[in-house]
């Protein structure tokens, strides 16, 4: 009697048990096949590697990316090609061009007259890097720079190329580099956004930048880049309204969080929690930001180093100085954009103006980080989205010219963060094709992640049924530039 009762209670006998256990295990297997996240919890998102900590000992802790938007010409900056000067006006040999893709702006040209640099080059530093006279201050830090002359990309127009450089895809729906780093490493300073964006505009022909470049994509929106205003108040509406006390602000946020929490329990939307986190961040930023934007404590030597423009909000120099302050305060990724590098025409004049904007401040940032002992742990990147053609756009004239887009070879430089100073990669005598050590954009991304202690193949996020990476399905760490 008791036995039956117990059996009934459990509703199990030996046969039942075997049958059910088998069905159960089968069900589990099937269930996890259909819904792999079913039992995994958080772990699945990165295939087991926890977030917020480097996968291995990092060389760099932070990144400052000085993006030269519009694509500065490599032939007037870091890729010295005397041959172009010798052959000025002559047609680009077909053996070099090899029928490769051109933009619609020059594909109709019957002639592709070669054009050498308007500016002279000299050699600098231990590596004997050739740097044009347009960048006298950068030339002084040649021993800290690693010039990569063999960058190449797949896109030939600004927007896709820029999006590719920033997100690893030409279509703008993927997370930006900074968002990936924020996701992978978290924030060092909880009082500031881990990913900050600063804009400035030069005097040359400009191209737009859009918020998709600093998007969080499918990642949590806390990883989105925060665009700082170029006014004297880099973060608008940060101050409490008059007569609002700190304590009542705190109380308001607490009550709001409670309401949001109720909402979250009802609808389960993770964006609700992201929002609460952002409110909290803004609250903490109210104390942290005034320290950042206070320039009165910067010494005269510092101002002289960056140039006095650094005191005028919204200039490249001011952004470079602010970038140093943000980075020093633990902001993981500071993204600068300087617009105006799209020299389809009037290149000698416009490029001089652009160079004047950025040369001094870019070099100063390196020097400044160095003297604070921060260059070793900060990776600084300088460069555009592609290169420019070795032939001139339109008709050949001796004293003025422009260059079209050229994705097959361009130059960028990096400094600090465990990058080995020197010159890497080489293009042919015409500066058209890469002949040694090409660095694809995916490789560049893999290397940046590597320097920050992240394995680019392990930093993944599962979205729409597959795992995404910054480098997607490609990318190799460029070991030749790592010290």
């Amino acid at each position: 009697m008791n036995k039956e009762f117990a059996n009934n209670l459990l509703n199990v006998n030996r046969r039942h048990f075997l049958g059910k256990a088998a069905a159960g295990i089968g069900g589990i297997a099937l269930g996890s096949l259909l819904m792999p996240d079913l039992f995994g919890g958080k772990k699945d998102l990165t295939e087991g590697l926890p977030l917020g900590v480097p996968h291995f000992a990092p060389k760099a802790k932070r990144v400052i990316y000085m993006f030269q938007n519009g694509a500065p010409s490599q032939l007037e900056s870091f890729d010295y090609k005397p041959m172009l000067k010798k052959m000025a006006g002559q047609d680009l040999p077909e053996s070099i061009r090899q029928g490769q893709r051109l933009t619609g702006m020059t594909s109709g040209q019957t002639k592709f007259p070669l054009m050498g640099s308007f500016y002279d080059f000299k050699q600098y530093g231990q590596s004997g890097a050739w740097i044009s006279d347009l960048f006298p201050n950068m030339a002084k830090i040649a021993d800290d720079m690693c010039i990569i002359r063999s960058m190449n990309t797949e896109a030939i127009n600004h927007d896709p190329a820029l999006t590719f450089m920033q997100t690893g895809a030409q279509i703008g729906n993927r997370p930006s580099m900074g968002a990936w780093l924020s996701y992978g490493l978290g924030s060092e300073n909880q009082n500031l956004p881990a990913f900050s964006v600063l804009l400035s505009r030069g005097r040359g022909n400009g191209q737009g930048v859009y918020s998709k470049l600093w998007t969080n994509g499918f990642l949590d929106s806390t990883h989105q880049g925060v665009l700082f205003s170029s006014s004297e108040d880099p973060i608008l509406f940060l101050n409490d309204p008059d007569a609002m006390e700190r304590a009542s602000r705190r109380k308001m946020l607490d009550n709001l969080a409670e309401l949001n929490h109720l909402g979250f329990e009802k609808n389960g939307d993770p964006e609700v929690n992201a929002k609460v986190e952002q409110y909290e961040m803004a609250y903490r930023m109210q104390t942290a930001v005034p320290e950042l934007t206070d320039l009165s404590k910067e010494s005269d030597a510092t101002i002289k180093m960056y140039g006095p423009e650094c005191l005028v909000p919204g200039t490249y120099a001011a952004n470079a100085l602010l970038a140093r302050k943000l980075s020093e305060s633990g902001v993981r990724f500071v993204q600068l954009y300087h617009q105006g590098w799209d020299q389809h025409g009037n290149l000698p004049n416009e490029m001089a103006l652009q160079a004047e904007d950025v040369d001094r401040a870019s070099a100063a940032l390196i020097t400044d980080l160095k003297q604070r002992g921060l260059l070793d742990e900060t990776l600084v990147i300088w460069g555009g989205e592609f290169g420019r053609t070795n032939y001139c756009q339109g008709k050949f004239t001796e004293d003025n010219y422009g260059r079209d887009h050229h994705p097959r070879a361009y130059s960028i430089w990096m400094a600090g963060g465990g990058i080995k100073p020197g010159v890497y990669g080489e293009t042919d005598e015409f500066g058209y094709n890469i002949i040694k050590d090409p660095v694809h954009v995916n490789d560049f991304h893999a290397t940046v992640l590597h320097q920050l202690g992240l394995n680019h193949e392990q930093l993944t996020y599962k979205h729409l049924g597959r795992r995404y990476r910054l480098t997607d399905v490609a990318g190799k760490v460029v070991s030749g530039i790592i010290s």
Binding site: A57, K297, V312, T367, Q371
Partner: protein
């Protein structure tokens, strides 16, 4: 018995199907974490099928001698079930990382085959198939092979015979020759299997130096100093499909690094006796070898102290002090303090909980004093310390732990003579002293007695570093304001200006103070100067005095259809149109007829300014004549004034704003402006004789 066998058969079908399923879809399946311990039972479970199978096998072999058929069949059944379960557990275990994927693959296949074959064995025996003996031989083989591979995975290759074979795996010895330590190991691992004493493919033997120097049937394998002409390099660089490519397709290939090492060594002269230490530290070959054998000194540092508990790490974290692991699995910690205003010395004190693990600490910009540095004395493994821009004077530096390798003091105003406090820091490698106020002499002295320390002094401006100031800027961004004010963001800058069109310099022109007096409209040229800096470029600023916004406006005469602006409100929107883009709907353009605009304002004003555009290149010229009519009703307007803006000359180039002001003393409500375009462009103009445009924008009241 039958019932058992029936149930067992079903179980067998189920487990084997499940096994195949898991095997095929392995990459897509995630094992729930509560099942993971089951996987670990695999090494225990596997003994059952092996033991039972062998017992069954013995009974089967001895079946002639006694009737063991039934019991043997039953044992095979149990062996089949246990091997299926063992294989299942094995697949779960395989989800854990850390096994050699190649071996694992074979083992997995083996497990499946064993399971299926044991099942077939049972069927063959119970159903008396003719092929019974072959199946049994097959399953026995599968069992042995799978078991063996499994053993190798667990215990390492060649585990059984290990005691007989000598361990010849050599450790890289930097004191040996390059050939012995770096070149031969590459040849040994990638070439020797086909080119040795017993096997002489291509008549080449690489097992000894003398044999190698004889070369193969194509001659010597390398030409010292010329890697590109050496067979070994040439063949290695051929496409892998090429018949001559070495090592042949299918054999383990040379890695890029190994190939580079061989290449560099040949280019170095292929010296067989050269000691590794004779290579310069910057030498490419040395670096490549170091990479290959990981002897580089800046190898990733490992720490042997124990990790802090996660509750301790959590406990010392707060919004203004971030403590985190250096990297995954590392016991070492770093701590960074942020937001000076919220600095709390207690959170520094609390770091004592993790004092053993802390290797990096940043207190930059925190208001800490020399006394607080005593807290750091117990941080025995601290390597990197950042004390930039703190309040320390340097007397507390003697308390620092001698483990410190990098110390940043930049921006902290140190007292004279405090560098002596660093003498105890025997591990110090880098010292940052920018803007510490310590004089050159003391730094030089310190550097002399500590030549191995890299002292970074940072940027110190010299007399040669004279750079140009930036130009002054307007206080109001638009120049539309009640006062004409300029400013410069740098301290102690003087601004000089000229309103008469002349060019100011550091001596000439008015010195700016507070504001520039003006009537209603002002074009002013200004520069900034400061001692030790070059004067800025001259910049032109335009000011429109504006105290309030008019109420409403009407266009009495219609502007040209091309440039209609935003209608009447164009002139009272308190915005000035873009100079460079006169098409931007901020300008009213007139050419065929006079501009006539009526404005109403109740405000008390003492004058008004009509703004226009000068752009001779685009045929936009100032009006020849501007009239102001005013009154208290629309109907009773009287002429208050007529002005004739300065005519442009050939020298007036560029694009700039113009303005003409009418001061008045009486109070009016309605104002009518009449502006007349030039009917014939002057003879110096490229469009001489044609009609000119007048472009009107805002009308300002002050």
């Amino acid at each position: 018995m039958q019932k058992i066998e029936k149930n067992a058969s079903q179980l067998l079908i189920f487990t084997n199907v499940m096994l195949l399923f898991m095997f095929l879809f392995e990459s897509k399946i995630q094992i729930p974490s509560f099942l993971e311990p089951l996987g670990r039972l695999h090494p225990l479970m596997l003994h059952l099928p092996i033991g039972i199978f062998i017992a069954a096998l013995i009974l089967w072999l001895l079946k002639k001698y006694f009737d063991g058929k039934n019991i043997s069949s039953f044992l095979f059944l149990i062996a089949a079930i246990t091997s299926a379960i063992t294989a299942l557990l094995g697949l779960i275990l395989a989800q854990e990382n850390g096994y050699d994927p190649e071996q694992l693959k074979f083992h997995k296949w083996g497990g499946i085959v064993t399971s299926v074959l044991s099942w077939l064995t049972y069927l063959a025996i119970s159903k008396n198939w003719k092929i019974e003996p072959y199946i049994i031989i097959g399953s026995t083989l599968a069992l042995v092979v799978t078991g063996h591979i499994g053993g190798e995975i667990t215990h390492g290759e060649n585990y059984v015979l290990e005691t007989f074979t000598e361990d010849d795996k050599k450790v890289f010895d930097p004191n040996g020759t390059v050939y012995d330590e770096a070149i031969f190991p590459i040849l040994e691992s990638k070439c020797l299997s086909c080119h040795n004493d017993k096997k002489l493919k291509g008549e080449l033997n690489l097992s000894s130096i003398s044999a190698m120097m004889k070369g193969g049937k194509d001659g010597p394998i390398f030409i010292a100093g010329d890697a590109l002409q050496s067979h070994i390099i040439q063949n290695a660089k051929l496409p892998i499909e090429d018949k001559k490519h070495m090592p042949p397709k299918g054999k383990p290939q040379l890695s890029v690094l190994e190939l580079s090492i061989l290449e560099q060594w040949i280019n170095h002269g292929a010296d067989l006796e050269m000691p590794f230490e004779a290579l310069d530290t910057k030498d490419t070959l040395r670096k490549l070898i170091s990479d290959q054998y990981q002897t580089s000194p800046d190898e990733v540092k490992t720490y042997d102290f124990s990790a802090a508990s996660s509750s301790d790490i959590l406990g010392v974290n707060n919004p203004f002090c971030t403590v985190s692991e250096l990297s995954l699995g590392s016991p070492a910690l770093k701590a960074d303090f942020y937001v000076a205003q919220r600095f709390d010395v207690n959170s520094l004190k609390s770091l004592e909980k993790v004092k053993k693990q802390l290797v990096e600490l940043s207190l930059a910009k925190m208001p800490i004093s020399d006394d607080d540095l005593k807290i750091l004395s117990s941080f025995e493994n601290l390597e990197t310390l950042n004390l930039n821009f703190t309040n320390i004077k340097g007397t507390g530096l003697k308390n620092l732990s001698k483990s410190i390798e990098s110390l940043s003091l930049s921006g902290s105003k140190l007292s004279k003579g405090v560098l002596g406090n660093l003498n105890g820091l025997t591990n110090l490698k880098t010292l940052y002293l920018w803007e510490t106020g310590i004089d050159e002499k003391e730094i030089a002295g310190f550097q002399k007695s500590n030549p191995e320390i890299r002292v970074v002094k940072g940027y110190i401006p010299t007399d040669k570093d004279i750079i140009k100031l930036n130009a002054p800027i307007m206080v109001s961004k638009t120049g539309i304001a009640s006062k004409a004010q300029l400013k410069h963001s740098l301290k102690d800058v003087s601004i000089r200006y000229a309103i008469d069109g002349s060019v100011p310099d550091s001596a000439k022109g008015e010195l700016y103070q507070n504001e520039i007096p003006f009537e209603g409209f002002l074009n002013v040229k200004a520069i900034a100067t400061k001692g030790g800096w070059l004067a800025s470029d001259v910049k032109t600023f335009t000011f429109f005095k504006s105290n309030f916004k008019a109420d409403s406006a009407w266009l009495i005469s219609e502007p040209d259809k091309q440039y209609p602006g935003k209608g009447a409100k164009t002139v009272i929107d308190q915005m000035q149109g873009d100079k460079r883009n006169f098409k931007d709907f901020a300008w009213l353009g007139y050419k065929q007829n006079n501009a006539e605009i009526l404005i109403k304002t109740e405000g008390q004003s003492s004058g008004l300014t009509v703004s226009f555009l000068n752009s001779p290149g685009s045929f936009i010229m100032p009006p020849t004549e501007v009239q102001l009519w005013a009154g208290n009703s629309k109907e009773s307007l009287e002429l208050v004034g007529t002005k004739y803006p300065k005519k442009l000359t050939k020298e007036d180039k560029g694009i700039y704003y113009g303005g003409i002001s009418f001061p008045f003393t009486k109070k009016f409500i309605y104002f009518k402006i009449v502006a007349k375009p030039i009917s014939k462009l002057p003879s110096w103009h490229s469009g001489a004789g044609q009609k000119a445009w007048v472009f009107i924008d805002e009308i300002y009241f002050y």
